[in-house]
């Protein structure tokens, strides 16, 4: 397993698993299985793109009702890439990106409007 942080903004984690891609895909997509290992309670994860047994891309955001103001908010994207290894297992590559993405959600705009000092300093 390896892990790196690229361009300040992306975390890539890779590993080789003994199981074939079809089985790993099930662990990534069957709700009961996903619930047992993947998504923390404070994260809202929505599928954006799926190619069975190859690629799964999901939004990975803080749940808005769990947010303590804006300071804890996260709005990122996680991509799982699966490929079959020579030994019939799965190489899994997890790319977590968007830590530096500008968010334009209504909550942010609302908060920014309420905070004219920050706006003025940002515009200076």
């Amino acid at each position: 397993m390896s892990s790196e942080t690229k361009a300040d903004d992306t975390i890539i984690t890779e590993c080789d698993l003994e199981d074939r891609p079809g089985k790993v895909w099930r662990a990534l997509t069957e709700p009961d299985l996903v619930a047992s290992w993947l998504v923390p309670e404070d994260v809202d994860c929505q599928v954006m793109e799926a190619e069975p047994e190859r690629l799964l891309r999901c939004s990975w955001r803080s749940r808005s009702d769990e947010c303590d103001g804006l300071g804890d908010r996260l709005d990122t994207v996680v991509t799982f890439e699966l490929s079959e290894t020579e030994r019939g297992g799965t190489h899994l590559r997890i790319v977590h990106e968007g830590f530096a993405t500008v968010m334009q959600s209504p909550a942010i705009v609302h908060a920014a409007n309420d905070n004219s000092e920050t706006m003025m300093r940002a515009a200076a």
């Binding site: 397993m1 892990s3 942080t5 300040d8 903004d9 975390i11 984690t13 590993c15 698993l17 003994e18 199981d19 089985k23 790993v24 099930r26 662990a27 299985l33 047992s36 290992w37 993947l38 804006l70 300071g71 804890d72 908010r73 996260l74 899994l92 997890i94 977590h96 830590f99 530096a100 993405t101 500008v102 968010m103 942010i108 908060a111 920014a112 905070n115 920050t118 300093r121 940002a122 515009a123 200076a124």
Partner: protein
């Protein structure tokens, strides 16, 4: 402070480098300029953006302004990235357990 501003401010590589300089010690624009191949107004713009994000504070002394990193500003970015650097390897460990318990 708005976390989005932190992310936006540090997404630019030059601005990030400016921030790292003033993290090391307090500097004025002229001193900073010596470290970069960009114009002084460009450096001032980067500093303004960093200030807007709460990452850098300014101190005036006569005609000069000195800049230094505000240690409180960087915390949200570091905390998310640090959390997820540890998170994924830990989740892969859990995934292996899940795979063991599944039908082939």
């Amino acid at each position: 402070m708005i976390e989005t501003e932190v992310f936006r401010a540090l997404a630019d590589p030059t601005r990030r480098a400016v921030f790292e300089r003033v993290m090391a010690r307090e500097m004025n624009v002229t001193e900073l300029k010596g470290h970069f191949a960009v114009s002084q107004p460009a450096i001032s713009q980067h500093l303004a953006a960093l200030k807007g994000a709460g990452l850098v504070s300014e101190r005036r002394e006569g005609r000069f302004a000195y800049y230094r990193a505000d240690p409180k500003g960087i915390v949200p970015l570091i905390s998310w990235i640090e959390r997820y650097r540890a998170f994924w390897p830990e989740r892969i460990g859990k995934l292996k357990d899940v795979l063991k318990g599944m039908d082939p």
